[in-house]
Symmetry: C2
């Protein structure tokens, strides 16, 4: 396997053998290690010394179920710390099939006006790279340019790109990959990595894996055994099974659940329950589609080999596609968080974010702060749509929102700013779900639910049931989830396999067997936690050297002083408990 380095300074590339020290590092474990090894922690995130590292997971590119993830790492222009964002897309498997363990985009051209594209093909023995002038594709809606690229390079290529807001340097812009229907809709969205890609003046990285040899495997029988166990677990768990929660209602199935729990952040985190929640839920998406399309429509896979299939498509009254897909985080960030209950308007906003290249969570968080500042009223969905257009146009008003939730709070002098390390909080209220607050505070990523999804036991009853309002034992819980998650983000599985594998022991065993089968390792449950913890320690070391001290691992003051309805709780986890997450890692 190779490390492929693309030098943006002069559009050259080279292949290197994977060094021994990276032998077992894949996905997030590798992107974070390479960023730690190669990027000066205090460099400017949009300067020549930052790098982007793309790496697929251990099992990505195989027939392992629900495992087509691609990790992207770099120094984040949003948080100033390390970032790994990942997405489900054929791009990940294609990279893995060409045996490119890591693709490193480095350097920076002097000419800031010209953008390039890179096409990576398999020449029979190794990957080769060709470059082309992509300047004509800048300044445009990514939905308008993807068809051209597929036409030019063939319908089976995979495309990584970013939108116009990345070209403008917005720190709330993501890197986009194609979904199974060639939509530019699968975002490695968080932390502004789109702006890093744009700062390299690289508009596209296109993978044409035709003829590629595929993923090597040490023990295929063991892999197959594990795969079967994992498939069985996924197919039997109520959340992940066919026509189960995710396949029927998508991730937006969580809206009603969190609202019931009083943990659905509403109107910029001023309440935990939204009177219009049901109208924005996964069930509402399902029912609206049923009414408009005249039949029940179950969800589809975002990427090859997914058997959970949680991606919805939301349809207009005229049966045309409005957007695909509306995730829980998006229907919340652009819905309850803004006091908006109009699903059609949420769909419009979601699609605009995708088209312009904006992270939906950060965009919603930013709009919430802007509403708090009085830029527009909570509930004004037409105004919110217009504000997203302003962001996409780069107008002065749009620019005020380009720095994300934390920076927008600073610019408008707002006191209620739901962000950690400058990154806006996702759709779970720390005052109502204490464990997730610990994850937000302490993860190396800035406020991020996926980094340690304690919602499983705190809300969903997965892997047991804990009282979400209790602070007891939550630091250890978050730590365990963070370490395990760092492993899953390296294995290449979608995080949603967590639901079945946490409840079904054979599924968990199957996931490990898959990895052992591919790598020839002999890992057990302890080993994968240790693997994840090592990744976290590396990320933490980068952040410390970048100036993020333990005082950065704190929940904003207002959550410690303002009780949140309906439970009227504050965030009461002591600082010492927050610090214990990494002290005990």
């Amino acid at each position: 396997m190779w490390i492929l380095r693309i030098n943006a300074t002069n559009l050259s590339y080279k292949l290197e053998e994977v060094p021994e020290k990276y032998k077992y590092l894949y996905g997030r474990a590798l992107t974070s290690q390479m960023i730690y090894d190669e990027v000066p922690p205090l460099c400017h995130a949009l300067g020549p010394n930052n790098k982007l590292v793309f790496s697929a997971g251990m099992v990505t590119g195989t027939v392992s179920p629900t495992s087509a993830r691609i990790s992207v790492g770099g120094k984040s222009p949003l948080t100033g710390g390390i970032k790994e964002a990942n997405a489900g897309t054929a791009w990940g498997p294609d990279l893995a099939k060409m045996r490119i363990r890591a693709l490193v985009l480095e350097g920076q051209p002097v000419d800031v006006k010209a953008y390039a594209g890179a096409v990576i093909k398999w020449d029979g023995e190794k990957p080769v790279v060709e470059f082309f002038n992509a300047t004509e594709y800048t300044g445009k809606d990514v939905y308008d340019i993807y068809p051209d690229i597929f036409e030019k390079f063939g319908p089976k290529v995979s495309i990584a790109s970013m939108g116009v807001v990345s070209e403008m340097g917005y720190s709330n812009s993501g890197i986009v990959f194609n979904d199974m229907h060639r939509r530019p809709s699968r975002y490695a969205g968080r932390g502004g990595l789109g702006a890093v890609m744009a700062s390299k003046r690289m508009k596209f990285i296109i993978l044409d894996a035709k003829g590629a040899p595929g993923v090597e495997m040490v023990d295929k029988a063991l892999f197959d055994e594990g795969r079967k166990k994992l498939i069985d677990a996924i197919r039997s768990h109520p959340i992940s099974k066919p026509k189960g929660g995710l396949n029927s209602y998508g991730t937006a199935v969580l809206v009603n659940i969190l609202n019931e729990a009083g943990g659905l952040p509403t109107r910029n985190f001023s309440a935990g329950r939204f009177e219009g929640a049901a109208k924005t839920s996964g069930e509402a998406i399902f029912e609206t589609n049923k009414e408009r399309m005249g039949k029940e429509i179950y969800n589809h896979a975002c990427s090859p080999g997914c058997i959970i299939q949680c991606s919805n498509t939301y349809y207009n009254p005229d049966q045309t596609e409005a957007t695909s897909c509306i995730e829980y985080e998006s229907t919340w960030s652009l819905g309850a968080n803004l006091g908006i209950d109009n699903l059609d308007d949420i769909a419009t906003m979601n699609q605009l974010c995708n088209a312009y290249g904006l992270d939906t969570i950060e965009t919603g968080g930013t709009l919430g702060v802007a509403m708090e500042a009085g830029v527009l009223e909570f509930g004004d969905s037409k105004g919110a749509i217009q504000l997203i257009h302003e962001m996409g146009k780069g107008s002065p008003l749009g620019r005020t929102l380009s720095g994300g939730t934390g920076t927008t709070g600073k610019i408008y002098g707002v006191k209620r700013v739901p962000a950690v390390k400058g990154q806006g909080m996702p759709a779970y209220e720390p005052r109502a779900v204490k464990g997730i607050g610990i994850t937000y505070a302490t993860t190396t990523m800035g406020a991020d639910h996926t980094a340690g999804y304690t919602i499983c036991p705190e809300i969903l009853g997965v892997s047991g049931k804990l009282d979400p309002l209790s602070p007891e034992g939550k630091a250890a819980l978050s730590r365990a989830f963070q370490a395990t998650t760092a492993f899953i983000d390296s294995s290449g599985h979608c995080l949603f396999i967590a639901f079945p594998i946490l409840d079904i022991a054979s599924g968990f065993e199957g996931m490990i067997q898959e990895c052992n089968g591919i790598l020839g390792t002999n890992w057990d449950a302890d080993a994968i936690v240790a693997y994840g913890a090592q990744t976290l320690r590396v990320e933490r070391a980068f952040n410390e050297a970048a100036g993020l001290s333990k005082e950065s691992d704190r929940i904003p003051e207002f959550m410690k002083t303002e009780p949140l309805p309906p439970h009227n709780q504050v965030f009461d986890i002591p600082d010492a408990a927050l610090d214990s997450v990494f002290e005990d890692m």
Copy 2:
């Protein structure tokens, strides 16, 4: 003496005796200690838990020369760390004469629409406070409202206030005090303390010191002896004497000197020499005034008892006043830094900053970054004037610039951002004057020249002459200047007494004797350095608890990689040398 606490939550106040632990703390030493003691380091700077502490210096309010300084302390919304900003104004002496050692503005009202004013008078035995509704004075040019306040409360009161940009929460807004001609022109400008005052909804703090008993003194003879020595030193040094450098040309006398040294930051710190520098210099101000007014005009005092008298007034062709005064930092930040050489336009911008409540240094730094981003062209003075109006109006475009130099850089994705801890750099280039770069990097204040003015030996030949381009010994130099400065900021003397007292030993002795005479202490030179160092340690401890680690004590990456013309030097001070400043404190 008292500590006077004004509670903005309910417009009440109380007087407390000065506790023993604060016995010798005045000015910056006291504001920083009280912020450390009373403000949670991670509180929101514009929230109810931040405080503003006003304290005059040890000798302020006496007949000591050039000593009418007022320190204002708080947590900075710009840097997130501790802040002390000071100004020369009768307000300082008036506070001291009423024997108010510290005035603490704390709390926050629930009603965000109503602003109050406070009037502090002497009732024969103690200070008393009356409050009035000041809402009618909000949203206005401070030059329009000061005359009304003087009319209402008498021509001899002193007024602290802030401008419209503070009311909008801008983190580049200052607190303004009146000068000797009742102009609202003396700013404690840096770090956004104006926004903190506005967040308390306190529009004015007015001092009416009529009948106040004045400053107590333990040993008047010693004080008088010291005072005479200090006066003699000030009056004999070429920089500070009557019709000397400062009295003739103001602080802007530095323009040609720094330009000659290649250390005048030009066009957003892309060069160290500006072809239009001479047109923006103190000499140019002097000559323009002479031509327009038909006579030589020497400068005036900003505050009572100043014998240096460095404040200029700049006149229009029709002999009306354009602005007073144009400091070196302002003619640079709004001049060379923007590629602007039109003094009339610089004067207009300077006056607009004063009228709206903006820090001129931060405004110029911000505009420089905006020009780098292409918002307008370098040299476009009419466009720059318009941008300041946009800031004052709070338009979307103005809002993009409200977060100061660092935040504006983030919003526009700019790589060349001359800021430390988010605060814009003043008028000395770290690559051409290495010692001042160490001060910028390591001071607790964010980039700040006044915190350790190594320009004295590096450029001016005061207290010896050092090569500005050499890194040798500069960490120790900055440390010594920072500690001594922290003492001077506590004594109440203007920092400009540094020129005479560093060169004339009896002047230095005189300054210490003044303080010993007032306090009954027996300090020597070592004692005042120790006093200053203790203040710095307290500030540093606050900053660490606020999340500013040693990685915050760094010069921006571009200065370490881009050589600066004309010397083609980078900033080459090792991190270990930067760290040694506080390690050895």
